[in-house]
Subunit: 395 residues, 4 copies
């Protein structure tokens, strides 16, 4: 069995620790890794790498041991006893988690870490990250890696002229004149070495023309952004009801409350701005017009790992009559995200094996703000994913 | 403009009166007929008959004038002033509404009507219905009619051996040995004359092999059954989330409360049985397994025309973690049903124009329990409808 | 029958127009004035003035005729045809609505009115308001008036030293050195003439020591503030469950969405600050400790007169187990507020008849932020109101 | 410290095992016994017996050891690791749990038990129960016991003439002519020995004139019935909003879904009838009129220990406008019930210490269908409880 190297940015965070623990648990037959799209019977013919074949490492700025983080998070997710069973396996992964970069990561992150990769320039940071990736690959005898960004959401970055081409951006980096956010530094390091980069957050990551160019040049694949795990996931299915039935949506108001570290960081308006932007542009694309929408996110500490969304949909019917639908979604964010991370790794590895390069637009089903496609409807996204994975796409 | 004759069983009921008033209002430019699937831009090339071309008649067992019914129902739906504006036009339609049949229509209907078409046998009933249809056609100079069943839900009918073939059933009818429910008597009358029969209720209607055969022989089209207007509509979209994301549904509990005549009749357990049966078989088909489901329907008089559904979905996630989703749907049943009735008439008329015969399986999107197809997913049903209407189906 | 003069600040707003139309409708027997606390059988012995005895006037900054406003608002509230029936009676009230003051009323009000009472100083404004009140009293031969503030919520006012005593404040007013918000200018004018002042909004109004002193001196009564009509009303009842059952509330998150003019003004953060402050201090007083709370208010235009609140309550049970309760409140703000306005007028008039003076602390049941009492529990507030009205209070 | 003997009917059921484990955990300082009404500061002066002083025994028809039941139930309640910590203490209680009676306990219980107290007549059953109680008392050197019925809900019992007096009933028992349900056999045994009987279920228990008389004669106290833990608890608070604000309730529909053994038994319509009856008579008493109400209870196995209620309240406002409120209650039944059981034991022991006899009407706050009082409002019930406990009642 070929082993696949997976490198998680935010390697001791909630999603990473549940992803790692879940993969270890599944590989040992302790608990089932429920909820993987890639485990569906209709993907069987795609020849995806088995979940057991993954090997984890990562970057992280907090020093709390993975074992301790995993225990706390898993209990918060309602999974008891597992972290204890996995103790040494978690420690082994922890040994491959390296100090992370905080440059340009926003006020709730910069200056808050315990284990920081110090770098005086973007150039030095990229080089140091790349060295960590190479060391991990060599140590475990791995081929190309899949890097997944699971770090806290960064504030929106102001576009700059040098983002337009890789030539301009690489010159600026060399000259010490670039100001890239951390997520993009990681993406540069990953793609320049030919590794895959997957952005599970709304941070900038590889979403700039210069990095799209870099990926093509380096023969690397990338995908993003912002994992579609809860309210937006529901929207991307439910909005079809109104579209297909030709019922005009008058307004769609959504409110999220959550209690984990992600929520704490998003409580800072600088960080929240990226999230709101990512969540709020889906309805116009699906409906073909723009009803009034609002997406609220608030931090409610007592909820811990739980994320509750309440959505109120106001729509018009026959003769102008008005009706409503409401839903509440009670999800555990990390349990919803972790299987998607494993899915993304498997699909990215498939693309690598096939020698693909550039944006993996077929992975749009996993993202709130998919790169390389305007399709936002889950069903259509999933059909596209299936066709790509099975090699039956029309194109 | 060719006029299309539409014959509504239950012609002075809630759905019928809103359908008729809505068509009249739209034809006069008084209020927009919002919510017609057939009005979507992507159906434009299908050449559907315009809504303005419809001419209405029907059967009914209650004597209250259409104008009075429409006023009460429309106000109950929140549409004020329209019935007054349409007074004479409603009276004109009312003149084409004839006494209805109650044979086999269940305890809440038999013996309750004011204007009953008396018939000593199924044979006589069919003949009398057929005579009404022919008189309507002649009076207005119409071609083939579209009959739509909007009457109260009948109790489930016990299958009988003579249902197997038209030969056996027609012999039993002739011999006075058949015991067909009212919905099927209407279907026999419609199909035997080559007219279209659409069953918007869960009653038996044309859902028996003998009538399928009759339709083929007579060159008539038919479709059904049970209009998908509320909770089941949501289910047929939302369940895809769990299927596509491979999240096992542990249980799906739904409770409907409604206050109109439909609710009053369904409050009788004999009548309710048909409804529950129709609503509850969709999830296993979409999910591929059968979670515990319950569908409750209760009559709450104060709700009037409103129908509220509360659904509680319990599902499993990564590592066996458990999460929930709930929704409430606040709909006005008649406002949701009426545009679908107009849609069905337009699509049935299209099929007639094309010379189709037999079950219109492409109309499955409109029904809780679609005939001629096992597809229950709204998106796939809608794609099939579009392909059929535009003549781009693969088949 | 002695007539009671009622003067509404914001006399052509949503609540005022529904209050006036409702009183006129009830007096004419057209529609029942449902939902008056003062109509309960247990208040019968209090000898409250009949609803029919009220005579309305007011101040307003918008020029749209009351008849037109009332028609639009009532239809938005689902009450059809009433404004037409009341046409001339509404016009008669409209003739007693005078241009209003906008000084210190906040960015969404100042500079937005059509009919402004121009005044170069607080002193001039108070004098002009007072002249309007006196003219109304003389014209209709009324005794003491009840002034009710129904105007848009003002931004929070910064306390100033001269607020401490009436001597200091009146000196500052005379000297042109005061900077009172509009709500307080109206309160000064009302109280200085011995009339009652009731503040149905969270604006400052009479909530400063100087005006408390003025009321005592002038023999006037006053009450406030911020009518308790929706989410806070529910909270003030439901929180007792957790208090009485000793179940610790971990967090209580509330989100309001509303579509009327009130919502549009509150969409401005300066105005919203007053509202949030008023809504959010109730739970600690009832529970005896302060769980994490948030109160969100957002403007959703399509909702019109409707106000929807979603509250999520997270609480702890036996052995530290965690449970939740959620509620949604679907209310029409003006229909909930109008009967309380009529109640407040009747109770204020009772206090006037009894020769009371100063803060009417017994009216706390009507307010989110009651003056003169710390009691926030609806049941205890209502018992206190009953005892006061019937003259059976222990004190 | 005087020890208080507590005897639980259904001693290895969900509520009993959580009650026992919780008391043991609190006594050892392992977990806090959150949610005891009797722990509120305002009850401090009542001199209630400490929770630590309780000693448990009981009757039960299932053989699964308490330790195993407690582990499963506690994990189902989200409390992990506790049963393991309490292993031997649970075994010690288990040794005092005796085979139970199934006579008259309904189709879901009779014939289903493992450890049955066989008795050929009501007389023998009562004598055998009494012997168990006496043996427990002697073994532990206890004074008067408190018996609490936590067994599965019985079907409604048909009243019989001999229930009218203790003389008639005791004669019938002696003659072998009585047909008492199990809950009443336990009550007879308890009260005849002077012990307290508390009925936490809607079964008959001591709710018949003959047993009221027996309690008075024997100097025993009793209370009931049907613990108020969820939806009805909310109703008994929330309905005050509509009563105090004079807002007519048009309909109040409630639907409960639950997954534990209680739910499984209630799924049988014979057993469910008692429950519905108990839950559905509260609103007319609080509101003073009877809106349409329905209370549904359905068994949804996947919910395990969770009980979800959805209530839809339709009410009328000013000018006849209509509005709604909905709530969902997500509770763990045993965690809500267990602290109330401890409360009831403490208050019953207080009554015993004071030498009270007969129905403890002051305990109405704990019950859906309180004995000895018509008061259904939680706040008033709680005030009455407080006054009684502190000896400050007006009477």
């Amino acid at each position: 069995m070929n082993r696949i190297g997976v490198w998680l940015i935010g390697g001791r965070g909630s999603i990473a620790s549940v992803t790692i623990a879940g993969q270890l648990a599944a590989a040992r037959g302790l608990l089932p890794a429920v909820g993987l799209v890639s485990d569906r019977a209709d993907f069987a013919a795609a020849g995806l790498p088995p979940v057991e074949s993954l090997v984890f490492g990562g970057h992280e700025i907090r020093a709390t041991p993975l074992r301790a983080v995993a225990r706390e998070i898993l209990v918060g997710c309602g999974i008891h006893g597992l972290a204890e069973q996995l103790g040494e396996a978690l420690d082994a992964v922890d040994a491959d988690i390296r100090p992370g970069v905080t440059r340009g990561a926003g006020p709730q992150v910069e200056g808050h870490g315990d284990t920081i990769l110090r770098a005086d320039s973007d150039r030095d940071a990229i080089a140091a990250i790349r060295a960590d990736l190479d060391a991990f690959r060599v140590k475990h005898g791995l081929g190309r890696l899949v890097i997944v960004n699971l770090a806290s959401t960064e504030p929106p970055a102001e576009p700059r002229p040098e983002w337009a081409t890789w030539e301009a951006l690489s010159a600026a980096i060399e000259a010490g004149a670039s100001q890239l956010p951390a997520s993009t530094l990681y993406a540069c390091a990953a793609l320049s070495g030919g590794d895959a980069y997957v952005n599970f957050t709304p941070s900038l990551g590889s979403r700039l023309p210069a990095l799209a160019e870099l990926a093509e040049r380096a023969g690397a694949v990338h995908a993003g952004s912002d994992g579609k795990t809860g309210e937006t996931l529901v929207k991307s299915v439910l909005s079809e009801l109104f579209a297909r039935r030709n019922l005009p949506v008058l307004s769609w108001f959504g409110q999220n409350i959550l209690g984990n570290e992600d929520g704490r960081v998003l409580d800072d308006p600088h960080h929240k701005a990226s999230k709101i932007r990512s969540k709020d542009h889906l309805l116009p694309k699906i409906l073909g017009y723009a009803p009034q929408t609002r997406v609220g996110i608030d931090y409610v500490a007592s909820l811990g790992e739980w994320k509750i969304a309440w959505d109120h949909i106001h729509f018009e019917g026959f003769l102008g009559g008005r009706m409503t639908m409401q839903f509440t979604w009670n999800g555990v964010d990390s349990l919803l995200a972790a299987p998607l991370v494993l899915d993304l790794v498997r699909f990215a590895a498939l693309a690598q094996r096939r020698g693909e390069r550039g944006v993996l637009s077929a992975l749009g089903a996993f993202f709130k703000d998919p790169m390389g496609t305007d399709e936002q409807r889950l069903v259509a996204q999933d059909e596209a994913l299936l066709a790509w994975a099975l090699g039956t796409s029309a194109e």
